[in-house]
Symmetry: C2
Subunit: 426 residues, 2 copies
């Protein structure tokens, strides 16, 4: 019987950061009764299974109303389809209504979740080992993981409590160039980032666009949580400020609709010019990569999302009123619970203005050993912030998520966490 050597597999398989996430899942499965302040998934009682059929029917109805015959509808839902998908016009309309982003329908590529959008953009932009990407750190593990699969170096740009400073981005970009590498893009979550909860101020947004121009960078803007601010104030999407076409926008329907569709998208309205002078759209160039990863995004899944968009008049902001209220209440509950259960002034936390996450500086080493103890003896799970750093950092910090719980669970989870930390510190 053949036995494969684990160390001979690709480094993205054996990377210790993958092991970390596996450890988290494994602890969660060993202590199923523990309250999970680790799980960042959306709450799952907003939709019923029957909604899938309803939205599918809404999309089919839309296609028929456009004059499409039965053969056309059948092909649209059951056949292979256009590599870049069939929802471009609907998504462009949604972006204009919800985000004041104006882009042509043909610049939208529908992807198998936002994860695929990241890997496609990374693959297209980075041609060789000298091409690197910058990313705000702490960084979403899906982005750094996608880069690892492709062997692309991610250069961290330290995020501050106030967001990502444009001057720091410029400095890191210059350092990268000085080391004979080419910084191709900056990855940033504009609102209520995972894991930090931090958002970019309006001034920073303008500054980042400017730095991208100065440093010849593209920006990969990821905004899965933007709908879920604590109040109705909105900061402009980087893409809405992007007069120079520096921003590739990465979109997700996992939080605004539901994760089970696995539909995301990217907008790449940049012009590409070949040595022979031929001009094309970056989205069209990237379709070659998409075709070699998943051929196209499941038309059935696209149809469900299309049905949602048709049904809500292309405004996810409108469609998500109930969810927005729910996540606001949960985040307020989390912040109030931290206030209630932590009285030691040495222990601090941030106060994100929206989203699913907050970060606690626990004053103790928040490592896998503490997590195991926490799950076993205190019945609460959380995520060590060190998982989100490439070269060390976050060793005493904890990511707390409040998206998948009831308010009672959040309060009780934080109470248990406070008991754990008090126990360890005493």
């Amino acid at each position: 019987m053949v036995e494969l050597v684990r160390e001979a597999l690709h480094s993205s398989v054996t990377d210790p950061r993958s092991a970390s996430m596996n450890f988290l899942n494994e602890v969660a499965s060993r202590f199923p009764a523990a309250i999970s302040l680790a799980a960042g998934r959306p709450f799952d009682e907003f939709y019923a299974v029957e909604d899938v059929e309803r939205y599918l029917a809404a999309y089919v109805g839309y296609l028929r109303a456009q004059g499409m015959g039965e053969a056309g509808v059948r092909q649209a839902i059951l056949q292979y389809g256009r590599t870049n998908g069939q929802l471009g016009a609907m998504i462009a309309r949604m972006l204009e209504i919800d985000e004041d982003i104006r882009v042509p329908a043909e610049s939208v590529m529908v992807t198998s979740g936002c994860q695929e959008a990241m890997i496609i953009a990374l693959r297209g932009l980075c041609a060789g080992p000298e091409d690197v990407v910058l990313a705000a750190e702490p960084c979403y593990v899906g982005f750094s993981g996608a880069a690892r699969v492709l062997g692309i170096t991610v250069v961290p740009v330290p995020e501050t409590a106030q967001g990502l400073r444009p001057e720091t981005v410029a400095r890191v970009a210059r350092e990268v160039r000085a080391s004979d590498r080419r910084p191709r893009a900056l990855y940033v979550v504009s609102n209520f980032a995972n894991p930090s909860g931090v958002s970019l101020s309006a001034g920073m947004r303008r500054g980042l666009i400017e730095v991208a121009g100065d440093q010849d960078l593209l920006i990969l803007e990821d905004d899965p949580y933007g709908l879920f601010g604590l109040d109705d104030r909105r900061s402009p999407a980087l893409k809405s400020l992007d007069t120079d076409h520096r921003v590739i926008y990465l979109g997700s329907f996992a939080k605004s609709v539901f994760p089970g569709a696995r539909v995301g998208f990217l907008v790449a309205d940049q012009t590409v010019v070949s040595a022979a002078g031929q001009r094309s759209l970056l989205t069209d160039e990237l379709s070659t990569v998409k075709s070699m990863i998943t051929v196209n995004t499941s038309p059935i899944a696209q149809a469900v999302i299309g049905g949602v968009l048709v049904s809500c008049g292309y405004s996810l902001r409108t469609a998500n009123r109930e969810k927005i209220a729910f996540y606001r209440r949960n985040l307020r509950t989390l912040l109030a619970a931290l206030e209630r259960h932590f009285s030691d002034p040495a222990i601090t936390w941030n106060s994100p203005s929206g989203g699913f996450f907050a970060v606690l500086d626990a004053g103790v080493r928040a490592d896998e050993k503490l997590l195991e103890l926490s799950a076993r003896d205190y019945g609460v799970l959380w995520t060590p912030m060190s998982f989100f750093y490439t070269g060390g950092g976050g060793s005493h910090a904890i990511r707390l998520s409040c998206s998948a719980l009831t308010t009672d669970q959040i309060d009780e989870g934080v109470r248990r966490l406070a008991a754990l930390i008090a126990g360890v510190r005493s």
Copy 2:
């Protein structure tokens, strides 16, 4: 306005073979009335849109019958799910019934189409530039394209009219090793290959398994067309002969169900041993890669395929009786039309024993220029075989596909093709 330099994008974007496939699509769109002997997609009148809801309901019914409550069903369909998917047991059962392949459910990973299965297997197995894969040539463009996205070298092993000779595989593997590279796996389509239509004889199958052992190779067995033989004789899947666990099986539901689900799978029941002596299943190791490409395969799409499997008693062979008859008739029609319309003994073709494709040696240069002439003046499309070779080859050969047409269209398409070639040769 930023302009990106096309030549600075990744080579998988700018590779001339991508341009070839784009050219084919572009010609097809310019001459929509032409009969397409190029399109290898399944015929699309076997299912109606309503079947999607029916199969979804069948899967939900199955989950409920297993005792799953509403919350569980809702999570299964609408939430993120297990990275490796939820159809492992059903697919293992189907493989046993249809293919005499016996594998544990946990060795199955559900993927976003077979394309993703290829890219995941390639990524996991190839760690550095010294790791290469062998592939039968002419080669399916999806496989060579996936390797290009990852920068993995594909070393061609010439296929003969009788299939892939084990001794040739052994020779190429030795040559690769002699050049200080490591041959990790051999990619082969066991039945009615795309593009050549060629199948492996039973002896070759046993020989390939033996060579894989001798040369320490894995085999990536791809079998999207195996159901569609001209008669009921079946050759054993390489995976069914795989007592030594050398074969990773790649599966597709695109032809046996419909492409719009975009559900495929891989079976990797190999044991992986770490330096520390820990043992794991290759499928579980590969799940790290899967999680960084698409997180997991759309549970909605999985549910539709699960509903099909439940409804057919886990036998796609049984469920596909009507399709099998249809594709048999189409391939027989293609071969008869070639007989009827080509009388010049200098022009020859092969006679595949099943599948969607046959190859014509046209006796003239079958390049993009001829294809354009063919579409414009003769109203027939086909695929130059040169598209399927890495380093030249197939310059005078044509791939003919008969899957997406009626018998009348096939006959008329071949008649037009004969007129084209007669015109060029005269």
